[in-house]
Symmetry: C2
Subunit: 224 residues, 2 copies
DNA sequence: TCATAGTAAAAAATCGATTTTTCTAGCATA
DNA sequence: TATGCTAGAAAAATCGATTTTTTACTATGA
């Protein structure tokens, strides 16, 4: 009945639900939706050009992840940005990342050092890409992921990633969040140095201050 | 076309997807599925008496939560029980719950004390219920939830709950897990005492030992 | 014997339509 | 004016069928 597809399709061997999930996740963190807004599923169907089933599966995943709120029989809502919750998220991020960084510095090997340098280099060069803003965010996330990677606890990394995503919703909604880019980039360079030198005590201080800097900016995203 | 339902339906104002989610979650933690097993969706459809859509939504939520593994275009799989992962989970549980307990003892009020006592009482009386084993597990979970509740960090509680669910997959799969019930129950009583007396240092020790006890039993659930 | 292409069956993923529930006005009643 | 009721519309949730992808099996040729 159907014409056999060209083998090219083998490249994007990913499911429609996963693609919508990724796209929606990106747009939620980016701030494409108004905080507190109710999602119109039929509208999303058109925006993301998918059917109802994969879309609903993606929404369910995002709700389980904490980037959406699911209300009994009345669909999905973008969570509000609450100052109390930001404080909670930022505090845990500081605690978890300080801990993970120390473990990573103790356990990271030469291979990790090389990959960290590579990630840092891509971050520095992010501005040269088209769509520089979004690309920097992407490289920034990858840099931090790489930095903590050899900490030895998969679940701690999972929680850190989740908190990071939550945190970024606030940070990227803040009006002045672009203005601290230069300061953050200085800290990234220092983090790399300390990582290679295994300066644990200083690295702990720095990652804490690094999160604090974004945190101070992010605060302006909340009303309450 | 359809006969108007009696108002009784207003009681179970919950969606089919949520019900399957709850049932599947319970059965996964209970050990009803073989670790590593691939789930046959069409079979689950009959077992849980639901259609494909709500079932798939539930599976997607469980995968995002970490109780299922989702493989590219080949469905869902029950995660294997790995010793390395158990160690990770138990270690984080100890750390997080020690921290949350201290915060809870500092912040819990009289209302909390009353509810904790109530939860403890229900736990003690669990054996008298029909289906005593499952009921004890239920009350046990609620007791621990209540204990840490006033810690002040919603996200920390969320992570603790998630780790607890993961941990219980291992614990309840261990052959001898029933044998330590008596010891656990003694510790629960001591935890209540310390909570009311705000004995922070001792409570920290005790919750750590409490998790360690189950952890030692749970180890026998893993092959590798 | 082994590797490999072809094919049928099974399973997963998706679509389109239907059912159920919630929301919104408008109307009647006190 | 406020309150409650109800039909109609809108939205959410679910079902049944279709399409796509993977898996298992078989035959073929090196």
């Amino acid at each position: 009945m159907s014409v056999r597809q060209a083998p090219a399709t083998a490249l994007d061997a990913t499911t429609a639900a996963s693609q919508v999930y990724a796209a929606l996740k990106r747009d939620l963190i980016r701030g494409r939706f108004v905080a507190g807004e109710k999602l119109a599923i039929n509208h999303l169907k058109e925006t993301y050009a998918v059917g109802l089933s994969p879309l609903r599966e993606a929404l369910n995943r995002l709700a389980a992840y904490g980037l959406l709120a699911q209300e009994n029989q009345r669909g999905f809502r973008v969570p509000a940005l609450k100052r109390r919750e930001l404080d909670d998220i930022a505090g845990l991020r500081q605690q978890f990342e300080v801990q993970a960084l120390e473990a990573a510095l103790r356990q990271g090997d030469a291979q990790w050092e090389a990959e960290l340098l590579a990630a840092f280099h891509r971050l520095k060069r992010a501005d040269e890409q088209p769509d520089a803003l979004e690309h920097w965010e992407q490289m920034h996330l990858q840099f931090h992921r790489r930095l903590l990677e050899p900490c030895g606890s998969a679940w701690l990394l999972r929680f850190i990633e989740q908190l990071h995503d939550q945190f970024d919703r606030y940070r990227r909604m803040a009006p002045a969040h672009q203005d601290i880019r230069a300061q953050l980039d200085v800290q990234h360079a220092e983090l790399v140095e300390l990582a290679l030198a295994r300066g644990i005590a200083e690295a702990r201080e720095l990652i804490h201050a690094h999160i604090q800097l974004s945190y101070d900016v992010a605060k302006s995203a909340c009303s309450e």
